[in-house]
Amino acid sequence: MSYGVDSGYDKKAWSAWGPETVVPGITFTSPTNPSNGAYSFVQLIAKDTATYTQGKNGTLSCPTIPGLDGVYPYPSQPPDYAHTWDAPAVPLELFDSKVSRTFKATMYLLWTSTIPGSIPVPIGSQKWYFTQASTTNQGYPTDKSWTTPIWNLIGEDGNPVDYVVSTPSLTPYGYPTWKGLATDAPVPNCPTDNTQEDEEQQ
């Protein structure tokens, strides 16, 4: 498995809220070696915090409890079903002067033999992340005029990054495991937290 940044925070995704306009933010591919089996993907989120700054009113920081990224298996692309993608996004509001998001996840690659009764086995994984990807609303508080987002993702557009083969000496090793969906932390009213940005920089 390798992965590469195709487009970072897709500008279309920032201005339109629908998959038909989205260019993948990141793409994961499978080994090109011939295989009779089938590949599948599982993504676990380790950290996901969206932060909304409203000028002098402070910052609203909304963390997420780690877990499965919503779906099992992670949907892959026809016709070969050997690659997939993700495009994390954060909404824009007129009354936000800045929005940012920190996201850390691991995409697992599994393979299933064609032998009847076979189950998926993990063969590799790829950790990926972006930290405080952000954009500033220059039109705040009366309009939306967004600066080019700062993506802060490791790698550059199109960079393939080798996956970590699943071996006992390396983490993560073995099957992806989770206790539940990655979901919003039960923080009442998603409270103002002006320290969040500083904490994330450490």
Binding site: D10, A13, W17, P19, V22, G25, D48, A50, Y52, C62, L68, D69, G70, V71, Y72, P73, Y74, P75, S76, Q77, P78, P79, Y81, T84, W85, D86, A87, P88, A89, V90, P91, E93, R101, G180, L181, A182, T183, D184, P186, P188, N189, C190
Partner: protein
């Protein structure tokens, strides 16, 4: 007499035999997909987080590509019909929804962070999605609630899931799943 016995046996066994068929519902003019939902916990304490699992299965012989976007614990593309014991629809405002003095509701943020994504389902294969209903719907009193999911697939009709029932217990109680194991 033998025929009557067969009829009776069929009538008695039919609900059992066909129950699995009823669980994964499809509609006649759209046999491409089926939806099955199940509760992660059948009993939950009022105010606690809970969700359901939605299994979407491609029952056709062709690959189908769908939106699998996920935002704030909820999958895109689904509608949920949730009703309390009186059949009253459950209000669609969870912890991020605010009720304004004029009765309207406001969600902040208006859209939740998540991921754009789509993907295919191969013939005969399934993908399971999670939906944290407590993020969006207001289960504000104890009792039984019925839940049914539906999904409109572009170009075809709406697909409906089975209907499940969950019990919301008073806030101070704990669901059986939350109870510690008994001491020996």
């Amino acid at each position: 007499m033998m025929n009557l016995a067969k009829v009776l046996a069929f009538a008695l066994l039919a609900p059992v035999v066909f129950s699995n068929v009823l669980i994964a519902q499809t509609i006649p003019d759209n046999p491409k997909l089926s939806l099955t939902i199940k509760a992660l916990n059948s009993e939950v304490a009022q105010g606690s987080e809970f969700g359901i699992a939605i299994t979407i299965t491609n029952t056709s012989e062709e690959s189908i590509t769908l939106d699998f976007g996920h935002y704030g614990g909820m999958p895109r593309g689904y509608d949920f019909d949730i009703r309390d014991e009186q059949g009253k629809p459950v209000a669609r405002y969870g912890k991020r929804y605010r009720q304004l003095p004029n009765g309207n509701t406001l969600q902040y943020p208006s859209e939740l962070p998540g991921s754009f994504r789509d993907g295919g389902i191969q013939p005969g294969k399934s993908i399971e999605q999670g939906a944290m209903l407590s993020e969006v719907y207001q289960f504000d009193h104890p009792g039984k609630y019925t839940i049914q999911a539906s999904r409109k697939v572009p170009g075809v009709s709406v697909v409906y899931s089975n209907t499940i029932t969950i019990t919301v217990l008073p806030a101070e109680s704990k669901s059986p799943e939350d109870q510690p194991p008994a001491q020996k």
